[in-house]
């Protein structure tokens, strides 16, 4: 059974590669409709709707507290939405039971602001964690992965330029290096979409740029869809195919990057300034 899913996902990922490369199809991978979330009367998400196309690099801009993290948590059902529907690939995420949800999560890679690596394990072990979902329990218990999985994981580390750190414990790596390992983990997962929640918010500017460039490159090479929240407008404009601007639980802006005008970004900034007051 695990082998079967492995083969399946391998095949399908090749297909995505082709479709993303030809960039003619506009298949929707993620469809969010009227998504709402309130915490005890406080509305964090106000019935928002948007689509993400397969292979797209989508950036969500917005100040802290605008609802970006809640949105991402709702998409993966780490948080239960109060309202609305989420469709991911062929599944309606809202109605899945725990087992189905686990299977669905196998193909969603998550990158966190705080990296969330297992500090005492090596970079390679952390990348191999991406295979946990499809690895038999006894192999996980003994931490004995197949030769094939190890080769694949090394390939993922190579893809983010971290091959030489494979056997180093991650608590000895810099923030930027740790985030690259975290990206490699999503690659090992063979994720169809990478959801990155403020991936560079705790990095210095140089590492931040490097991490964004690597994310952009591996996503393009492998046809992976990216949904990434950021604070920095310049990064957003440089990396994104499409930009969503959020504030106060609402979407203020949803445009292809080339159509985003200085006025638009000013609006986001103004709103940011207002929110800060």
């Amino acid at each position: 059974m695990p082998n079967e899913t492995l083969v399946q996902s391998k095949q399908s990922s090749t297909n995505y590669y082709v479709s993303a490369d030809s960039s003619v199809s506009h298949e929707v991978i993620l469809r969010v409709r009227n998504l709402g979330k309130d915490y005890g009367g406080r509305e964090v998400l106000r019935r928002i709707s948007f689509d993400v196309d397969r292979g797209q690099f989508m950036v969500v801009l917005g100040p802290s507290g605008s609802g970006k993290s809640t949105l991402f948590r709702c998409i993966t059902r780490l948080t239960e939405p109060s309202d609305g529907t989420i469709h991911y690939e062929d599944a309606c995420v809202n109605t899945l039971n725990q087992a189905e949800l686990a299977r669905l999560r196998c193909s969603i890679g998550f990158v966190f602001q705080q990296f969330n690596l297992v500090k005492r394990l090596t970079a390679l072990d952390n990348v191999l964690a991406g295979c946990l979902g499809r690895t038999p329990l006894w192999r996980v218990m003994l931490r004995r992965f197949t030769h094939q999985d190890r080769q694949m994981a090394l390939g993922c580390l190579d893809a983010v330029g971290m091959l030489e750190f494979a056997y180093r414990r991650v608590d000895g790596l810099s923030g930027g290096q740790q985030q690259r390992v975290a990206i490699a983990r999503t690659l090992a997962q063979d994720a169809h979409i990478i959801i990155a929640d403020e991936p560079i918010a705790s990095l210095d500017p140089e590492s931040a740029l490097q991490v964004m460039q690597i994310l952009k490159r591996v996503a393009r090479e492998r046809g992976i869809t990216v949904l990434c929240s950021l604070h920095q407008v310049d990064h957003a404009l440089r990396m994104a195919d499409r930009v969503i601007g959020m504030n106060d639980g609402k979407i203020l802006l949803n445009k292809p990057t080339q159509e985003v005008t200085p006025d638009d970004t000013r609006t986001i900034y103004m709103r940011v300034a207002e929110a800060a007051d």
């Binding site: 686990a102 690596l117 297992v118």
Partner: protein
């Protein structure tokens, strides 16, 4: 620099509510202490009368009798064996109980309370009490001591391990769960490596503790050097007694030092200085296939 401003601070008022509460608390504590003092029948005169006896015994201890040293060392070894196997059995049951009895890893609140209850009861019952029970049930001998240690230590180790598990970082566990890994895989892969150094340190500490405890278990017939000690006390054989005490002290001190050094090393938790990196083969050997 001298400030030209003057400031008024609030005056201390005994009758203000919080000050009154503090004063009252102090009075209550003092009253309890007086009651406890009387209950304990403190009598320093009695102590003064007894001290010369101890002094004379101490003198009688010299020169120490080391004729039976082989027998004493053998008893010490039995004590060490008892403590170690007892801790081993305790650990086997303590680890699962710790996971069930830690808030962040328990499968269900009912299981949590049940596990905590077992841990508290076994931990709350002293090893010596277990030793008395097992001597009555299965008779004298070191195995009785092993069981006594295993039961008490199961609770003691389990509780400490649960306390190591509870503050563990949640982030990596969330990240693993989001890869679609099951709960048990998450615990194995994200939690266990994180808590491992503390697990080992706790076990070492408890092992050392067991060795100290098992030196007296022989007094109630549960094997080990305690039996030898009790015999010398019963016979008022002071030269022999000091030899036994010296052996106990030496063993316990060595154990302390060993366990301490090991724990310090483990808790330092330095990453192994491995600098080897994997090599990309296809670049060096382009036409391998």
């Amino acid at each position: 620099m001298k400030s030209s401003f003057r400031y008024q601070e609030p005056r201390f008022e005994l009758l203000r509510r919080d000050n009154l509460v503090k004063t009252l608390l102090l009075v209550v504590c003092a009253a309890f202490f007086v009651v406890f003092w009387r209950e304990s029948q403190i009598d320093f005169e009695k102590l003064a009368r007894g001290l010369p006896k101890i002094a004379s015994w101490t003198v009688q201890m010299f020169p120490p009798n080391i004729q039976n040293i082989n027998e004493i060392l053998r008893a010490a070894f039995e004590t060490l064996a008892m403590a170690t196997t007892g801790t081993f059995f305790a650990l086997i049951f303590a680890v699962p109980l710790a996971f069930l009895g830690a808030r962040n890893t328990t499968p269900h609140p009912v299981v949590y309370h049940a596990a905590r209850w077992i841990l508290n009861i076994t931990r709350g019952t002293e090893t010596l009490v277990f030793a008395l029970i097992f001597t009555a049930a299965i008779g004298f001998g070191p195995f009785t001591g092993v069981l006594a240690i295993a039961f008490h230590m199961m609770g003691a180790i389990g509780k400490m391990l649960a306390e190591v598990i509870e503050p563990a970082e949640q982030g990596p566990m969330d990240a693993m769960a989001l890869t679609g890994a099951s709960r048990i895989k998450v615990l194995r892969y994200a939690l266990l490596p994180d808590v491992m150094p503390n697990f080992v340190a706790v076990t070492l500490y408890m092992w050392e503790f067991s060795v100290r405890t098992s030196t007296i278990l022989g007094i109630v017939g549960a094997g080990g050097i305690g039996q030898t000690l009790k015999n010398t006390i019963d016979l008022l054989d002071f030269p022999q007694m000091i030899t036994v005490l010296a052996v106990i002290l030496t063993m316990v001190t060595l154990m302390d030092m060993l366990s301490d050094a090991l724990r310090r090393r483990i808790l330092q938790d330095r990453a192994a200085g491995q600098t080897i990196a994997p090599r990309r083969l296809s670049e060096e050997v382009p036409n391998r296939a």
